[in-house]
Symmetry: C3
Subunit: 204 residues, 3 copies
């Protein structure tokens, strides 16, 4: 079940990467590369920081699932104009799953709840940040005006809290992931905003 | 005392990151993320290359100091127009401290003086490079027309030299840091320039 | 001989980095930094993922060769307008060598042929990606319309295949490197294209 959640996270992140490739008018190879990096980037960062060999370079599924996602987007992607909302929703789902799973792995490797949450956030946002930087855009993470890092921190913190009180296993992981995903979607839907410093006007 | 120098470096780099957030009109969350990445990025790179678990994911202060810096900038930052010089000066201070401390740690882990200096430079410039790339700018490091890598190399080389002749402890570290910082500030003040290749005109 | 191939790869990648510095009108220090990062970036990524201390921080040649390449470009670079084709050809040569050598090292560290190929591609494309991102451009790798990742994958896959059937040593490595290099050059010469998703028009 955790493996299934992990592959689900990889799948939705890979879809968001391949769709970004469509939006940037990349060919099928560029789409595949962006799908792989988006899907695997956060987990690789997590494993490098935990000082273990990255899971992405040991599992068959981690490498093949992004290729499947690329094929799906290549053959069945909707019109380009409809792509952006899908990127954001799928990205939110991947964010939630990766935050929960990254925090869990960090706790299992002995990090404190605070640092495990920080590493969970890194796992969740790392792949999307690489995707945005490689596509020549400022990461969504920074233009947090519709909240991106906050849901990531909520999901990771919830996972660390549940683990600390002895609640883990896939229902706890799923609950933490859904908390992050739900907050992210609600923030987009209701346009929740983080405050700006005095004298700062938002871009455009 | 080394811990204090380290936290001071993290603090000034975090200030420069949060101020870059103001300049890019990010909200408080984006400012905080940029502060954390600027402050911790170079040290994480150093520790990954030394193949040890990054200090940033073990210490409480490393995570909290950038948040304090973000709060200070959020509530008391001067007018946006005055932000850029402050970023550059604080960045120079962080550069000096991180070069000296990064070189020292690398020497303690058995790297040769040359390679320790190289890793010290990486420690010093890594966080600022991530800050610039994430903010959508070409890193200051590359537009070295007012010298950036040169002071970093001077400070790191001085630290490696002092260590090799048996002089270490915080006065030596501070001296190496001040050498890099002073050279950087002097280069900005007196507009010291590195040469361009023949036929190359500087960008505007 | 493998060391010689490795230094040759570092040299041509460093040339491509220094020439990118000329193209971006950087001074000699910026050129040197870009040369070092382009030449060493892919190998550092490979070694971090293999969880060993990066070779770049242990060998003298790895650090000095990019400086020599920078000096050559600084004193003898042709007119700026003629720089871009040279970057692309040298980049192709570095790509081939690094894919073959990266795959080989990954196999020696026990990765499966599939994952070793993936890490070989990472070794080959990593430095160039860093070069492009730092120079403020979208990586060549993504605008794969003249094939970039495909030759990398061919070369890495060939190396993994040869190794699996017991053929290794420098002739095998060189053959795999030439396969990637030749495919890359042929793709540029004959304008081989990867397909676009339906409804996607290429950028201009």
């Amino acid at each position: 079940m955790p493996e299934l959640l992990d592959l689900a996270g990889i799948f939705v992140f890979a879809l968001s990467g391949a769709l970004m490739g469509v939006r940037k008018r990349l060919d099928v190879v560029g789409m595949g590369v962006l799908a792989e990096i988006t899907a695997l980037g956060g987990g690789v960062m997590r494993d490098l920081i935990l000082n273990v060999r990255p899971a992405a370079f040991q599992s068959l599924g981690y490498v093949l699932v992004p290729l499947a996602a690329t094929a799906i987007v290549f053959f069945w992607h909707p019109h380009v104009a409809r792509v952006m909302p899908a990127i954001l929703v799928l990205d939110g789902a991947g964010l939630g799953l990766f935050c929960a799973l990254g925090t869990l792995k960090a706790l299992e490797y002995g990090l404190s709840p605070l640092h495990a949450s920080l590493l969970g956030v890194t796992t969740g946002v790392g792949g999307g940040m690489l995707r945005d930087v490689l596509a020549g855009e400022i990461p969504t993470l920074l233009y947090d005006r519709e909240l991106y890092a906050v849901p990531a921190l909520l999901g990771s913190g919830a996972m660390a809290g549940l683990y600390t009180v002895g609640l883990y296993g896939w229902p706890a992981t799923l609950a933490a992931a859904l908390l992050a995903f739900g907050t992210r979607i609600a923030a987009m839907r209701y346009k929740w905003r983080a405050p700006l410093a005095r004298g700062v006007t938002p871009p455009e």
